[in-house]
Subunit: 340 residues, 2 copies
Amino acid sequence: MKRKITLKQIAKELDVSISTVSKSLRNSPEIGEETRLRVQAFANFYHYKPNNIALSLKNRRTKTIGIIIPEIVHHFFSTVINGIEQVANENGYNVVICLSDDSFDKEVLNMELLANGSIDGFIMSLSKETQFKGDFHHIIEVINQGMPVVMFDRVANEVICDKVIIDDKLAAYEAVQSLIDKGRKKIALLTTADYLSVGKLRTDGYIKALLDNELPFDDDLIIKIEDVDTCEIIIARLLEDKAIDAVFAVNELFAVTCIKTANKMGLNVPKDLAVIAFTDGIISKYSTPTITTVSQSGIKMGNRAAQIIIDRLESEEDDEEETYVTEIIETYLIERESTN
Amino acid sequence: MKRKITLKQIAKELDVSISTVSKSLRNSPEIGEETRLRVQAFANFYHYKPNNIALSLKNRRTKTIGIIIPEIVHHFFSTVINGIEQVANENGYNVVICLSDDSFDKEVLNMELLANGSIDGFIMSLSKETQFKGDFHHIIEVINQGMPVVMFDRVANEVICDKVIIDDKLAAYEAVQSLIDKGRKKIALLTTADYLSVGKLRTDGYIKALLDNELPFDDDLIIKIEDVDTCEIIIARLLEDKAIDAVFAVNELFAVTCIKTANKMGLNVPKDLAVIAFTDGIISKYSTPTITTVSQSGIKMGNRAAQIIIDRLESEEDDEEETYVTEIIETYLIERESTN
């Protein structure tokens, strides 16, 4: 018996990308005819079977939900998974998890792996690379074949499906507003260098809060950090040169590094510098001083994502005109020592 | 088409435990004949199919490794998974993860789910409940059917398979010895209340280090913590009553809580109290002061576990007398501010 060939092996053999193979097998016009036919012929010869989800969906239920997340050493994603597990288990569903490692290729491979009969539907958050590429064919394909997908946190407008998100712009706005309410006037933003949907929205919220309060907006106070291990120097320069009195950081690693740097320079947090972090994780809870954070409500996000997909899987209707929901989970500020 | 019935559904219908169903279907003499026959008849009626791994193993390779871990919001397990992913991906293997939530039943269900054709082998760490029950039939069964299992960290002597562990006793011994070398004489142990193999071994290492150095062993200095959120009071009492000069904590949450409590009481860490934590996570790296830790080398553990299972899967031999390895990953002390 011949072993089943995978997308990855086809890509390697023909020296093309996984995306090219995947699209060729779906007859995508994006791929030139020659390549397309070559991939199809090769796949055919080796009996490659693409997902035939639609054929089997009606008759089988695995009672299993597949989750694809970008990374695992990440408190937010871990809490979302716990939230999904809670509701899934209550409803008799199993959960299997795959990691994309923020890679587009791995995301495509994971979807291929799980969609091939192991699961009933996906809950997923996009890899950075997928967001950057803007290539969502693998997700759209699965949806078109009738398998429900719920996206959370890192979602794409281009994909029409159920989504569970927070209002990143509003959450950032409220965090910055709370700093302004406490009398802070020169507030810096520590953000990531990569262009993710959520990073952009948080920046928008930061800027809007400044403008609404008629505070000057200074581009030099938006610091894009490439690498958390070397960002101390950049933060030290910011603290030295700019005489800021508050920082809004898009994650807790930036926030805690900022606090440590400030302490080394003899600044007192929160007296000289107030700090708020996006995402409530364990660092914020256990650092000295403890850090005020925007709670992303990972558990609640997971609960809702699981409930939405289970409702879809168990609804008897076979409605042609589906209406998808985008559910916005409320965020709130957890006040701790770094601002009070 | 009838939906496939699961172990869980059979257990629920017959009002018996999942373990009873699982063992009855395997004709285990542990289960009374009446129950066994009743379960078998019911399963038969609903066309329940137990894993027929042995039948299919020779002919198919999914190139997928299944991981079962107790929990996900846990830095150590996350790093092991990253380590597994690295080696798996280099070798063209996919990885799927299931969580047992430290529940025996979920561990059994996860194994049933994945062993049913989705994966080629397991890498797993036992749930607390499984360790407590001492019931490993679900793992032994899978191994007997010819599917390789590699256990890591929380392993069982009763299961004969490849294992990747650290020497918990030696690692604890070395940590306590390093405190003694720094002149500390009254060292407390903060440990967990539950009886896990690793907790026991770390306690043994702690005691041995004291005895080898002819330091008095005081049972009152071994504090078993049930709940990290309420342990501050217990730690405060320890610091007040016992005039200790060092603490060895079996995890970083206990360590950071101890440091915070000491600070509140006006004690200086490390001057008045040196602290070492088992497991190197992000809290230790970012707390103030930073915490000296025993590195469990999660990445390396994951790397080795993946390599061992891939070697087994790809070896051509069909050796009847298999020899299993127990690989011990070296630990080392990461010296930080809490001891220096």
